[in-house]
Amino acid sequence: MLKRTDMAWCPGCGNFPIRDVLEQALQELSSPMKDIVFTSGIGQAAKMPHYLDVNYMNGLHGRALPLAVGIKLARPDLTVIAYSGDGCNYGEGGNHFIHTIRRRLDITILTSNNQVYSLTKGQSSPTTDPSVKNDLSPRGNENIPLNPIALAITMGAPFVARCFASERDHMKEIIKEAILFKGTALVDILQPCVTFNKTNTYDWLRERVFKIDKPIEDRYEAIKTAELWGDRIPIGVIYKNDAAHCREIKKIFRERIREEDIENQLDMRCVMMR
């Protein structure tokens, strides 16, 4: 395994505890490591799969989710986890975030949410708080922050959680639960960026986070809770719907197409056009 110093994150980065916890969580699952596939986009967070003993497809910025969809549809037997940062999953990949949830697939979406674009050195991300100043927003962020928890619940995601990199045990249990959950599971992980986010620091977050001890049953109540931010920030499984069905995926991998199927296609050729 790689040494700490080979991991391209700053000392004190929130991604380190997340990595340690993820590694433990994956080992504690019953799926063998060989059956786990990560997808990621681009950014500091998206380097995560490189530092774990997993299969991965580290694609383009914003595109972790469509890769995960393609992999899951081809190989429903694999455990598919999409891991990226807030810029990747909610900004560049925002359209994919919305529509991937709609597909009702058994995948896990983990977002390292540090409320800033770090690899490009400090610009606002979709989750940046209002009025925060940085080099592209010298007058302060004028946009409404995207709330991924509320958005995911609105879109019909059946498992929506938030955790905090500092609360390791809590984070590990939630991540495990998310991966085991049969359906689309989102975990938004608050991950302080020690280099570029001087607002939402470890201390700032510690003063504000409070744990939800069990998921809120009513979806609209859950959305209300999801929208809490600022003075009080809920962490835990905010919403869970065990009754939600996820899509049945037909097996195609290594299934042969028979000659008679082709014969039927040729007989049906005109039918195709109607």
Partner: protein, 541 residues
């Protein structure tokens, strides 16, 4: 002997149904025919027209001759198409077709059966046997077809242009069906896409096939998602494709770059239509050649096919997936609206066996990007063993981990580009027609293949010496592909449907060949045989 009919009307009047009905019965009765259409980007109104050429010989292009029959379902047909009707041709005016509609309403209580009556009428005109027509008809349509026959008989049109049905066993396809079937034969089991004319019917075919076969179609939220889904599915072990048109492909470009960098096999079908931007959504052009050659930032190899006939299309689609796997590159298939929407028949020796991917298994020492002699690393898929399969869009080391080692960077670039050497030896040769000793060669690519062929035959039959060379593979172009033809010493005339003479430019860049004259058409319509023959004849004098 041949018979050319055009039927014009507004979108929504059922012209497509007439075409489907007529071509299906012509096929079942073993008539040679070629059908294509000209339609607007709207669902109701406007003016669309369908053209069907029926013959006692195989036909694979529009003749461009005067119509033998013009059928008007709207007012515009008279001004648009009647001037092109031969002097003793049949004109079914709007007044007459309204009477047919009235008859359908009165007899069958549904005005829409008038369309089937028109099909019956056309069949009667060419002297088809009513008995055979009814036998070939589906369900109860026999009665509507017969009513059309009765109309033709009453109007003294029956048998006016008799043709013999002499086609043997065959299959009927439009260009998109040929691509979709070819892909399935090639082992493709995953397709993702976003609807876009003229590629949508490939997706329709695939998603219908998914009802009964182990294949999957996923409708993506946008084309960026589509290409990434296909790459994910391919990485995971399933042969995958996407199909789109120029505007959708523009969105896919970073995905193309990702395919090149991660060396993930994928097949990309691009049905060309006039651009730029939204252009003419339902018309034809060959304007994306340069785009597809250069698409995707960075440098990496690719193959681009542009098949020109139904059997070439099936063969190309079928082999593209094995080629993509073998070289671990993106493979492109260029088609266009004209070819995608044209219906024609081919002899029935379509391969029925589906090809399949290989699934080699490696142990934990496996590295996805192992540097090898020929640049091709062993390819496997996640979960088959303890081997980890790791892909990265960054420059990467042999194990798929991000690297900024600049020496390794050069070795990885060289590795990817080394595949060009193999592609230079593994190409689909162009198709030659005509006289090897002719001093002129008519060059074409994609859907102009058989239009050029027929025009050439006319020219040769008049005693002129001429030849043609059609490229079904447009990239890479190598000296070996053209070596047998001595093109440097010939006068080259290049036929294409774009304004910039893109293929002529490519011949110059890749092979140093100078095209003496380009025959270009870019008004959104295909060439007809007569039109091309006239142009070429002038140039060959």
């Amino acid at each position: 002997m041949e018979f050319n009919v055009v039927i014009g009307g507004e979108a929504g009047q059922g012209l497509f149904s007439v075409e489907i009905g007529l071509t299906e019965i012509l096929s079942r009765l073993n008539y040679y025919f070629f059908a294509t259409k000209n339609y607007m980007s709207r669902i109701r109104g406007g003016h669309n027209f369908h053209m069907i050429r029926i013959s006692d010989q195989p036909v694979h292009a529009l003749s461009g001759l005067k119509w033998d029959m013009v059928i008007a379902l709207d007012g515009e047909t008279e001004g648009r198409h009647r001037p092109d009707l031969r002097d003793d041709g049949i004109y079914l005016s709007r007044e007459l077709t309204k009477e047919i509609e009235k008859e359908a309403q009165e007899t069958f209580q549904d005005i829409r059966y008038a369309n089937t009556m028109l099909v019956g009428c056309v069949l009667a005109v060419i002297g088809a046997s009513l008995e055979k027509v009814i036998e070939a008809a589906e369900n109860e349509t026999g009665q509507y077809l017969k009513k059309g026959f009765d109309y033709a008989l009453r109007s003294n049109l029956a048998g006016k242009y008799p043709l013999q049905p002499v086609a043997g066993d065959h299959c009927k396809f439009d260009g998109n069906q040929a691509i979709a079937l070819g892909a399935i034969l090639g082992g493709c089991q995953f397709m993702a896409g976003y609807p876009m004319t003229p590629a949508t019917s490939i997706m329709h075919y695939f998603s219908t096939a998914a009802l009964t076969m182990p294949v999957h179609f996923e409708q993506a939220e946008d084309e960026i998602s589509a290409i990434n889904m296909a790459l994910g599915a391919s990485y995971a072990g399933v042969r995958s494709m996407v199909a789109t048109s120029g505007g959708g492909f523009a969105l896919m470009q970073e995905g193309v770059s990702l395919a090149g960098m991660t060396e993930t096999p994928v097949v990309i079908v691009l049905g060309q239509r006039p651009g730029p931007a939204t252009g003419l959504p339902t018309r034809t052009e060959q304007g994306e050649l340069n785009l597809v050659i250069h698409a995707g930032h960075g440098e990496f190899p690719r193959i681009i096919f542009a098949p020109g006939s139904i059997d070439e299309t099936i063969a190309v689609a079928r082999k593209s997936f094995a080629l993509a796997d073998r070289y671990q590159i993106p493979v492109f298939i260029l088609t266009d609206q004209y070819f995608a929407d044209s219906i024609q028949i081919v002899d029935d020796d379509i391969p029925k066996e589906c090809l399949s991917r290989e699934y080699p298994v490696f142990d934990i020492t496996y590295k996805r990007y192992t540097l090898t002699e020929d640049g091709i690393s062993p390819l496997t898929y996640p979960g088959l063993s303890d081997a980890r399969v790791r892909l990265d869009s960054d420059e990467h080391d042999e194990d798929g981990k991000i690297t900024e080692d600049l020496g390794l960077r050069v070795r990885m670039v060289d590795k990817r580009l080394k595949k060009f050497a193999m592609l230079a030896r593994d190409f689909m040769p162009p198709t030659f027609y005509g006289d090897r000793n002719a001093s002129s060669v008519i060059i074409s690519w994609g859907s102009n293949k058989l239009i050029v062929k027929e025009a050439l035959e006319k020219i040769i039959n008049e005693g002129k010496s001429a030849s043609a060379l059609h490229f079904g593979q447009v990239y890479p172009l190598t000296a070996a592909m053209v070596a047998p033809y001595g093109l440097e010493a010939k006068r080259l005339i290049c036929v294409e449907n774009n304004a910039g003479g893109q293929f002529a430019g490519l011949l110059k860049r890749e092979l140093g060949l100078n095209v003496a004259h380009s025959v270009l058409k870019y008004n959104g319509e295909c060439f007809t045989v007569t039109e091309l023959y006239s142009e070429l004849k002038k140039l060959l004098t």
